[in-house]
Structure formats: C-alpha cells, structure tokens
C-alpha cells in the first residue's frame, strides 16, 4: 500500500472542503480513516499501534485524522532512519497514556467557542450536582423534622365549661326551644325564623305577630335558658350526639389534618343569633301590646344570650355576641322612641343597668382565642427544639396546603403527585419559611399592635396592626411566603375592633337616651345640654368615638337627637344620610384615617332615634 495522498485524499486540507455534519451522517469520516490506515506504508504492528492510539483518543474526526497522519509520518521517518519496529514501538511508550495525553492536549487546541461551551457545561454540571446535593440535604433535613404538639388548647377552652354543673347550663334549654321552633338539620333556619326580622309597619308584621304569639312557649324557654349563668356548651371538631338532632351528622365536616382548635365547629352561634332576633321581634310585639314587663324581659334575655355567645374566646364568638347586643340596643332605642310611655322609670333603670353591665361593661373583641388558634396551628406544623425554635415539617406543609378547609383534606395517603410536589417543594418551603421563633415573634408584634389598637378609643386609633400586616404582605414574595401562616391565619381583627367600637357608641347613646327620657319625665322637658344629666342620670357625658369630644345632642322640632360627627369628623347638625334601605350609609360610621376623611360624604351618624324609625 502506498501512502500517496492522491489515492486516499486524506491530507488535512481535504476536511476543510467537507461539512463535518455531512461527513458524520454519511459515515465518510470513518471510511476515510479506514482508508488511511489501510493504505499507510507501515508494518502491521506499527499500524496497529497507530490505530489503537488514535481510536482511544476519541477525538473529532479531523483531529483523529491529523494525529493518525502525524504518527504514521513519525514511524515512517523512524523506519527510514533504520530503526526497527520493536525499537519504535518500545520508544513510543504506553499507548493508553499516549491516547489520554494526546486527547487532553488536542482539546486544548479546539476553538474558543468549544472550550467556552465545555467550561459552561462543566460549570452547569457542577452547579447541578451541587444543587442536587443541597436539595437532597434539604430533603433529609425537612423529613427529619416532625411536630410534637404538647398543649391541648381545646381542653383549655373547654375546661371551665366542663366545670359548669349540668343544671346551670343554658344550652340544653336553648336546644329544646329551637326544636320547638322547628329547627332541624334539614330546615332552612333563616327562612324558618324569618318572622323575627319583620318590624311594626312592615307588610309581614301581622304574620310575624301571629308566629310570635303561637310560639310563646318556645320564647319562654329561650328566656328561661338565658337566665342560666353559663351557656355550658363544650366545643370541638364534631357535634355532641345530643346536638345532632339540630345540626345533623358531622361526618362530612371532619378534616382530620387540620389542628383541632382551628377546626372547632361553632354552629350554635347561628342559633343564638336567631334566638336573639326572635326576642327582639317579640319585644316590638310586646311594646305594641303595651306589655312593658315582656319588653324588659326580652331585652334582658337577648343581652344574656349575647353574653352566652361569648362563652368561647374566638373572634367569631365576640362578633356574634356584639351583634346580638347591638340588636338589643336597637330595640331599646326604638321602644324608647315609639312607646316610651309603657316603660316605667324602674323598667328604664333596670334596662339601663343591664346594658351598662353587659359583659362587665367591656364591649370588645378578644384576641385570646385567635392566639390559641395560631399557637395550636404552629405546634402542629413546626418541630420543637425545646427552646421555642423549630422548623416547618412535612405534616405542616400539608396543613398549610389545606387551610382553605378543603373537604378532601383527610389523613388518607396523599396521591403520588402530591408526594412528589412535597418532596420537591417541601424542602424549599422548609428553608424559606420563617423558623418557629421568628414566626412567633412577628406574630406577637402584630397581635400586640392589634391589642393596642383595640384598647384605644376610636378617635386615637393609629391602625398600627393593619400597617404591620400590610408591610408584611407588601415586602415581597419571599417575605410573604416566609410569614405565610400569619397572613393566612390572622383575621381582620381591626374591622372586628371597629365593629365593637361602633357598638360602644350605640350603647352610650342608648344609655344617654334613657337618661334623657328620665330627665324629661322628671322635669317635663328635654335638657338643654347633656351636662344636665350628670351625675344623677349619667356618670359622665359619653364621648363621640370619632373625635373624643362629647356626643352631640340637639332638640329638633321638639324631639331630641343624639348623633356622632361620624367618619368625616365634621358636625353637620345631626343630618342623617340614608341608603336605599333607609339606614345610615356605612361610610359615615366606618373609621378612616384622618387623611381620608375627605372621601366620606357629608352628614352625621345619627345614633338615636334611629333614622329608619
């Protein structure tokens, strides 16, 4: 065989005239190499050595061809110089080492773009390996943590209730009354108790009167129940067997994955609210019929129901409790305006005392229950290192995913897709979310702000809590994820506090109205100012919750009017602004910061008599 390049076309320049891709896909490169080896002028041992080295180089075809050519030329020069095959093979060295070194060196000669890509691939590979290693470490860390809840908050809530003697519990009597009224698991309670919403003058009033008269036995049972010192209803994630006659089975409501306090069921609040509405309606009926004693009884009973509703420390309890109280205040105010003559002075004093003493004089929304909910959730989703610290656990991640109370949240084995997502995202959530100590510290700061806001009169509000929460959510996605349990679990306590403050205003107005009536009876005319009521009929002139100054009082057309300047902080002389339902527009009694008062329509929040009357 001859090494003549004309027969092989194998010199380096040949490659430059052919596309590498074409040569690859047509197998031309391999053929050229085989042709080169077949036609080179070397003895078989040397040819074999060249073939071995070149093949083991694993280079690009062009590079391989160059190396082959060079080695072939080298050995041919050696043979020409009189060296034997054995001498040449021996002096060549280790073919494996040669191939390795040649490959390494040839790669250094490759173009910059290739070397850059190689370096990039290596870097990416290292990063990927590092990320995989890190993720595996995070997975191990994540799954090594498990929650160990120690405090039974539900037991704490129920302990004082469990201590109430059976005969002093109001709930069994309420239940009996509700059953008498026809409340069943299948009944639409709202429709059933619709007669409670009608008022004298409404089209449905006659029908309501008939209903109320027919159900006096049930109403009497409600009044007797309200006299009990405590509601006496232990709560939890299910219904007591005796209560299933009212609410049905609780099977479908079971969400075992959720922490117990978070999942506490409070269906009785709807029933208590309904009971309160019935008693208001009966109070209007009694007033119409001149039954002053019944009016006072119903008012006192409704107030007691409001206190019973607050037996559990949750915010929803307080909201219902305050709503029931507000309803009672409305009744008193309306009866005082429309049927004052049926109420004796003693009736008025007893009613005033009941109102003033309601829940110890504190119309408030507590945060204790919300703290318990949060702490219970935290102890079920975080591990505990014994020093207040801990990290998110896999169980905790599932709880957070199901905090929307999906009914599919069970303790059954999750689907594979969920397991995979947990494995991928769980470790990231574990390092992203705040640790237990940091979370609780931030939560305490917010709750402290809420408590400070709630303890201030409305005219001194700074809305500190809302600003803290807003900052938390607005600081960015990572911060939002970091403190997710806080903004997921913290209810709008500021709005609740606002509601309570409005009821404080109503309460103060009704007590003042009672004092005005008593003054009128004593002196034959309305006082010129509220200061005249102090101290015999009022301990002090109550403040306007919006500006801290005394509540406003005017006599218009011979009739007294008590009002607040409202959210716009301007005195418009007691002019009410009503919506299409004939009620004061909400903007007038919803607190806004002072820099937004210009958004509130002109007008005042008329407290008594209610503008609808």
């Amino acid at each position: 065989m001859s090494g003549n390049q004309s027969t092989t076309g194998t010199h380096v320049g040949y490659y430059r005239r052919r596309s590498p891709l074409v040569r690859f896909f047509t197998g031309q490169s391999r053929k050229d190499f085989e042709r080169l080896m077949a036609n080179c002028d070397l003895p078989d041992p040397l040819r074999g050595l060249v073939r071995t080295v070149v093949k083991r180089c694993r280079l690009w075809p062009r590079e391989r061809h160059e190396v082959a050519l060079e080695l072939i030329a080298h050995f041919q020069d050696g043979l020409d110089a009189g060296r034997s095959e054995d001498e040449l093979i021996k002096s060549f060295g280790d073919p494996e080492q040669a191939a390795r070194l040649i490959r390494r060196a040839k790669k250094r000669n490759r173009p910059l773009w290739w070397r850059a890509m190689r370096r990039t691939r290596q870097t990416i590979g290292v990063l990927i390996l590092a990320l995989i290693f890190l993720h595996v470490a995070l997975i191990i860390r994540f799954y090594a943590a498990s929650p160990s809840p120690e405090i039974d908050y539900l037991a704490r809530i129920n302990a004082p209730i469990a201590a109430v003697p059976e005969e002093e519990r109001a709930w069994p009597r309420y239940r009996e009354a509700l059953l008498m009224l026809g409340v069943t698991p299948d009944a639409n309670v709202r429709e059933l108790l619709a007669p409670a919403d009608a008022r004298p003058g409404d089209d449905e009033w006659d029908e309501s009167r008939t209903f109320l008269i027919e159900h006096q036995a049930a109403l009497e049972l409600l009044r007797r129940a309200a006299e009990q010192p405590a509601l006496g209803l232990e709560v939890g994630a299910g219904y007591a067997p005796d209560d299933q006659v009212l609410w049905g089975s609780d099977e479908e409501l079971h969400v075992p994955i959720l922490p117990p306090v978070f999942h506490t069921l409070l269906p009785h609040l709807v029933n208590l609210r309904g009971a309160g509405r019935l008693l208001y309606a009966d109070a209007y009926r009694a007033a119409e019929d001149g039954q002053s004693e019944r009016v006072a009884e119903n008012v006192r009973a409704a107030l007691r129901i409001g206190e019973h509703a607050a037996e559990h420390p949750f915010i929803v309890n307080d909201l219902v409790s305050v709503a029931i109280f507000q309803g009672a205040l409305d009744v008193v105010g309306d009866v005082l305006h429309d049927h004052a003559s049926i109420l004796s002075d003693d009736d008025l004093r007893i009613i005033a005392h009941s109102i003033a003493a309601w829940r110890g004089g504190k119309v408030q929304v507590r945060v204790d229950g919300e703290r318990m909910v949060f702490e219970d959730v935290v102890q079920h989703i975080y591990s505990d290192d014994g020093h207040g610290g801990g990290r998110l656990t896999p169980e905790g991640l599932r709880v957070l995913q199901h905090l929307d109370l999906s009914m599919s949240a069970t303790t059954d084995a999750p689907p594979l897709s969920e397991v995979v997502m947990d494995a991928l995202l769980g470790p990231l959530a574990g390092v992203t979310m705040a640790d237990r100590r940091s979370l609780m510290r931030t939560y305490d700061e917010i709750m402290g702000a809420i408590e400070r806001d709630a303890s201030r009169p409305m005219w001194e509000w700074q809305n500190e809590a809302d600003r803290k929460i807003h900052r938390l959510v607005a600081e960015g996605f990572l911060t939002k994820v970091r403190y997710a349990p806080i903004w997921m679990l913290t209810p709008a306590l500021t709005n609740a506090a606002m509601s309570a403050n409005r009821t404080v205003q109503s309460r103060d107005a009704i007590l003042t109205a009672i004092a005005l009536e008593l003054h009128r009876r004593r002196h034959g005319e309305w006082p010129d100012s509220l200061e005249q009521l102090v101290p015999h009929l009022l301990p002090a002139v109550p403040p306007d919750q919006f500006d801290g100054r005394p509540i406003r009082y005017r006599v218009i057309d011979g009739k007294p009017r008590l009002y607040s300047v409202g959210a716009n902080r301007e005195d418009h002389g007691g002019i009410a602004v009503l919506d299409e339902r004939g009620q004061t527009i909400r903007q007038l009694f919803r607190w806004v910061p002072t820099d937004r008062v210009h958004e509130v329509p002109n007008g005042d929040w008329v407290l008594w008599p209610r503008p609808t009357r």
Partner: protein, 120 residues
C-alpha cells in the same frame, strides 16, 4: 539516566523550544535531537512528546504546518512563534538562575559558596 517525571515536565518544553529556536523541525527529528544532544537524558517517548507539542501549540508558543518532505511524504513541521521566543527567553533566564543557585549549593559539582560552612 531516567529523569523524574516532575523534572521532565519542567525541562521538556524548554528543551523543545530551544531546539525549535534553530529552525522548524518535525516530530521524529525532535525526538532524535532531544536524545542525541542531551546524551539520552531528555530521551522522552513519543507518547510524551506529541502531547507536549500539542500543548505548546495550544499555548501559542509554537505553530505547525503540513508540508511535503523530501520523500514526498506529508510531515508536520513545528516552529517557534514570537510568543514562543519570548517564553524561551524567560525560561532560559530562569534556568540560568536555577543552575547558578544549584551550583552555589554544590549540587552541580562546583565549589559551594563560602558561607555554606561545608568542608570539601
């Protein structure tokens, strides 16, 4: 005498650059001259030489061209680049310094420096 690999790693490239200083050479020629002119000390196998040549080429110290030999066979000839010449000058300077230091220590068979305190 076989030279340790670490020493060869430093000496080999300099030797090749020095040989190329005299003019372009092909692979086998370099092998022969390295062995002959170093009296066998720098007799490195071709499995070492060719990778070394490729490395020197990657560094830009030498360049290569394919040309026809006198026999009509294709050969790859290597020559120094400008960068290679500068590199060679630097290496030579370093080797002279090293040799001088070694000599003062008596390692090269010269009389050691006076302050060594070594008696001959």
């Amino acid at each position: 005498m076989r030279i340790e690999r670490e020493l060869m790693r430093g000496a080999g490239p300099v030797a090749v650059l020095k040989l190329l200083q005299a003019g372009e050479k092909y692979g086998y020629e370099l092998v022969e001259q390295l062995a002959a002119r170093s009296e066998g000390v720098l007799d490195m196998g071709q499995s070492t030489l060719y990778p070394m040549l490729y490395n020197l080429e990657a560094k830009g110290w030498i360049k290569s061209t394919w040309r026809d030999s006198e026999t009509g066979r294709k050969r790859r000839y290597y020559s120094l680049t400008g960068k290679g010449k500068r590199r060679l000058a630097t290496e030579e300077e370093q080797w002279r310094s090293l040799a001088g230091a070694m000599g003062k220590l008596g390692i090269l068979g010269q009389k050691p420096a006076a302050n060594m305190g070594v008696t001959t």
